[in-house]
């Protein structure tokens, strides 16, 4: 199902009574970081930054990055991670991961950061009661890159994921290298063979590299009920990440560096995993922080699309990006029972399954944030759609990014966050004006005929009444035995 | 190489020591044929003092060959009542007669029912 050519952008739905009202920060494609109110008024725009993601910290600070290394030589290497104030002044910076001398560029320090960072004080980088990220001290976890070679994985150069803990002076004090834990991920032999031949190879210069795991989120567990009950796997300092290319989400023990909990890379080995179903190309897997509804559960944006290494099959002749699905799911999973406890999928969105499922679909980027009133702010990233749903799946706020890029002609938005008003003292609490959903049946653009503008109608004898259909060319939910 | 032997008239510990009860009820402890073979010619043994107490799984002595220094892990918890003084001058007895004259120490066991393994189990382990 494609998108219509003409549709409104900006805020399209807003019910102030049902929303957790605040400011929303997102990356406007090829513009910068935009902080806007519930009606879409932009209260501050930090131009030129490239936050992947942007995060707002108490005091009106923006955590972001100032750009990316030339793609000829790298894949998604952010040059730095910076904390800038309300006026755009850099108050904290990290870039000393690697000193890089790319052809045609002056040698410089580059963070090689990508996809995520977390500041001490808050585990996930969004509002949770009593857990404010520090803004004038504290360590920062940075997800970064480092090239590696590991013949157990592949004979190709690897673009390995690296987690760095950096102190306030910008100095690395702790490191975790993904490739060193290859054996702990539990890949089967078929996927290993595919991975060895093609570790998601990217033709960079002077030598290509395999972005083999592609971790795209990294956060701390923080205090949680599982650890309080004695489960050491969920130590508050432990780090949860997910690897998009391998369809795997896992928790790293901070002390030993070992993988102590994982979901994937396969979803057919236990009844629990079968019930969850294949999670494909997922993003932004994190534990809901203490103090928020659902605390201790793990939120996953299960993109679908294409992901994972497996044996060759009709959907993937080489076995790379082997699992396929044309819709997305937001899953809230109990990590001990390994059960889905809440979800937002095309079914909850009201789309007929599976014919219309791809109307909730972002095959890349995306994420979600649990809000204090139990709502969930979902970023359906590929089409620039950010929306807030209630626990019973009603959309109470929706925004479509009006920012299409020139270099990347999409209005994609990586990951949006809702920020409490108190975190931005520079902004007077804005007006909260309700926006009723347009009646799309009657809404017309100028020049179009009005609904029901009908010159004539006739009746044909012998027609039987309309009914449901179990024959929309594909199997439908109506075929389900249970119904 | 002649075949290594594991007599089944005594008890064994996975860390290559044996224990055999003496007539007075105390337990004689030594290293296995496999262990002496691995060590090579023993040139010195650092034995404990009588009266010292060791828990099962703890080292009671250091056995040195020109190649390696190896701890001797006691198979039963207990207090040392006697050490094999002959080993001071002729440590090679451990090689030539590991189950007889090459014994290391004699102990009074805290609990003779402490878990150990049989000759057959030990043999299966080292030949795996």
């Amino acid at each position: 199902m494609g998108h219509p050519t003409i549709y409104p952008t900006g805020v399209t739905v807003y019910d102030p009574e049902k929303c957790w009202n605040g400011l929303t920060i997102f990356q406007a494609q090829e513009v910068g970081a935009v902080l806007m109110d519930m009606n879409g008024r932009e209260v501050n725009v930090w131009k030129g930054v490239l936050g992947m993601p942007n995060k707002i910290f108490p005091g009106g600070y923006l955590m972001t990055s100032r750009g990316r290394r030339d793609g000829k030589f790298s894949v998604q290497d952010g040059i730095d991670v910076v904390q800038v104030d309300w006026e755009g002044k850099v108050v904290w910076k990290f870039d000393q991961n690697e000193f890089i001398e790319d052809p045609g560029y002056e040698g410089r320090w580059i963070a090689r950061y990508h996809h995520d960072f977390q500041r001490e004080g808050n585990p996930v980088g969004y509002y949770a009661p009593g857990m404010e990220p520090k803004t004038d001290s504290g360590n920062t976890l940075v997800l970064a890159h480092r090239n590696a070679r590991n013949s157990a994985i592949s004979d190709k150069q690897l673009l390995d994921d690296l987690i760095l803990e950096v102190n306030w002076e910008g100095e690395i004090v702790w490191e975790w290298n993904c490739h060193e834990h290859f054996e702990e991920f539990g890949f089967r032999e078929g996927p290993k063979n595919t991975l060895a031949r093609n570790p998601n190879y990217r033709p960079t210069k002077p030598e290509g590299m395999g972005d083999w795991m592609h971790i795209n989120s990294m956060s701390v567990l923080g205090p949680n009920k599982w650890y309080d009950a004695g489960d050491q796997r969920f130590h508050p300092d432990n780090i949860i990440v997910d690897g998009r290319e391998a369809n795997i989400t896992f928790i790293i023990d901070k002390k030993s560096g070992k993988v102590v909990w994982k979901l994937g890379p396969d979803y057919d080995s236990t009844p629990e995993l079968k019930a969850i179903g294949w999670i494909i190309g997922q993003h932004h897997c994190h534990m809901i922080p203490a103090g928020l509804p659902g605390a201790g559960n793990i939120l996953i944006f299960d993109n679908g699309g294409w992901g994972g290494y497996d044996v060759p099959n009709p959907g993937s002749p080489t076995g790379v990006k082997a699992a396929l699905r044309d819709y997305s799911r937001v899953l809230e999973i109990d990590p001990v029972a390994m059960k889905i406890v809440w979800q937002y999928t095309p079914s909850e969105a009201g789309f007929l399954f599976p014919m219309d499922s791809n109307r909730f679909y972002s095959p890349f980027i995306s994420g979600m944030q649990r809000l204090p009133n139990g709502n969930t702010l979902i970023t359906e990233g590929s089409d620039g759609r950010v929306f807030e749903v209630t626990p019973d799946h009603k959309i109470v706020w929706e925004f479509i990014s009006p920012y299409w890029g020139k270099h990347v002609p999409m209005n994609m938005t990586y990951r949006a966050y809702r920020v409490p008003y108190e975190w931005v003292p520079q902004v007077k609490k804005p007006a909260e004006t309700p926006i009723k959903p347009l009646d799309v049946f009657s809404f017309r653009v100028p020049g179009a005929a009005a609904l029901g503008d009908r010159a004539k109608e006739v009746t044909v004898d012998g027609c039987v009444p309309y009914g449901g259909s179990n024959a929309l060319c594909v199997a439908s939910v109506d075929d389900d035995d249970k119904k | 190489m002649s075949e290594l032997k594991y007599p089944d008239d005594r008890r064994y510990h996975a860390e290559h020591l044996w224990a055999k009860q003496a007539a007075d009820g105390s337990w004689v402890i030594g290293i296995t044929d496999f262990a002496q073979d691995q060590l090579g010619e023993v040139i010195f043994i650092d034995l404990p003092e009588a009266g010292a107490h060791f828990k099962q799984g703890i080292s009671c002595a250091e056995i040195e060959s020109a190649k390696v220094v190896s701890p001797a892990i006691v198979p039963l918890s207990g207090a040392v009542v006697e050490v094999n003084a002959a080993l001071n001058d002729t440590p090679e007895l451990v090689n030539s007669d590991p189950y007889g004259q090459g014994w290391l120490i004699r102990i009074k066991a805290d609990d003779p029912n402490e878990a150990t393994i049989t000759a057959a189990q030990y043999k299966a382990q080292v030949e795996a």
Partner: protein, 273 residues
């Protein structure tokens, strides 16, 4: 005084000592620890506290002239060449399997240059693979030795910032001397430059370590000497029995301070050895 050697079968290190003694016409008695095991075992038990073991067992040959017991080919030859004078620059080799180390050109006492060079030559000609070490001092002697082509691997260790060199290394360091040592080291096909987190007896005699800031100062000294901030260096800790081991993540603060100056600084992973 009569010399006794205790040797192992097919031991290259033993052969080098025997040939050296023979060439100088010095008589000796040799016992093989296997063939003459009764003699060796008795000797071992009587002198056990003076005999050291490397990770693979007793270090052979053992040399005993009734006066001192020496082990390790380098140390025995140094003793034969000049008594105890070379002890500062010829120490225990931590390398096995045909390699020999523990040879520090920078600590060679004045007047001993010829003996030190001879020592390196004898070890290399005898069939051992020589790793030579410098702490940046004595580039003159380093050049003489490297020119002979007998060194297989060259290690340059920056052991302290300039102001601590007399305490840690035993003598002051001169920037030009250091610069020449860096150039000579880099011109060797197999070389390694390390910023060493040294352990040393500090004020009051207690063992202490170079701090991350001091490692940064040492890196600055290297930069001042050679002017090349891209110089590939490795940060490595010298372990000391009296101090907590310094390894893994604990080395990162040192790397950070060194990288502020020498941007390519890395921590050497064990498998890279």
């Amino acid at each position: 005084m009569s010399i006794t050697l205790y040797t192992a079968p097919n031991c290259l290190r033993c052969k080098i000592v025997k040939e050296f003694l023979a060439k100088r016409g010095q008589g000796y008695t040799a016992y093989d620890f296997k063939e003459d095991k009764d003699i060796f075992n008795n000797y071992y038990r009587a002198n056990r506290s003076s005999i050291y073991r490397n990770p693979e067992g007793v270090e052979f040959p053992i040399f005993d002239d009734g006066n001192v017991i020496k082990q390790g080919t380098g140390e025995i030859l140094a003793y034969l060449l000049s008594g105890r004078v070379l002890e500062s620059c010829v120490t225990r080799s931590e390398l096995l399997h045909g390699w020999i180390s523990g040879l520090n050109v920078s600590a060679c006492p004045a007047g001993q240059e010829e003996n030190f060079s001879t020592l390196i030559r004898v070890l290399a000609k005898g069939g051992l693979t020589v790793q030579l070490r410098s702490d940046g001092r004595r580039s003159d002697l380093l050049k003489t030795i490297l020119d002979e082509g007998t060194v297989s691997r060259m290690v340059l260790d920056i052991v302290a910032p300039s102001r601590l060199y007399p305490t840690v290394a035993g003598g002051p360091i001169d920037l030009e001397d250091l610069n020449r040592s860096i150039s000579l080291t880099r011109s060797h096909a197999d070389h390694l430059i390390r910023i060493v987190v040294s352990a040393y007896a500090g004020e009051g005699g207690a063992m202490t370590r170079i701090t991350p800031a001091e490692a940064g100062e040492a890196a600055q000294m290297v930069l001042d000497a050679c002017g090349n901030r891209m110089l590939p260096v490795f940060v490595e800790a010298a372990q000391n029995a009296g101090l907590e081991p310094l390894e893994g993540q604990a080395l990162l603060p040192y790397r950070s301070k060194v990288r502020n100056v020498l941007v390519k600084a890395e921590i050497r992973k064990p498998e890279a050895h």
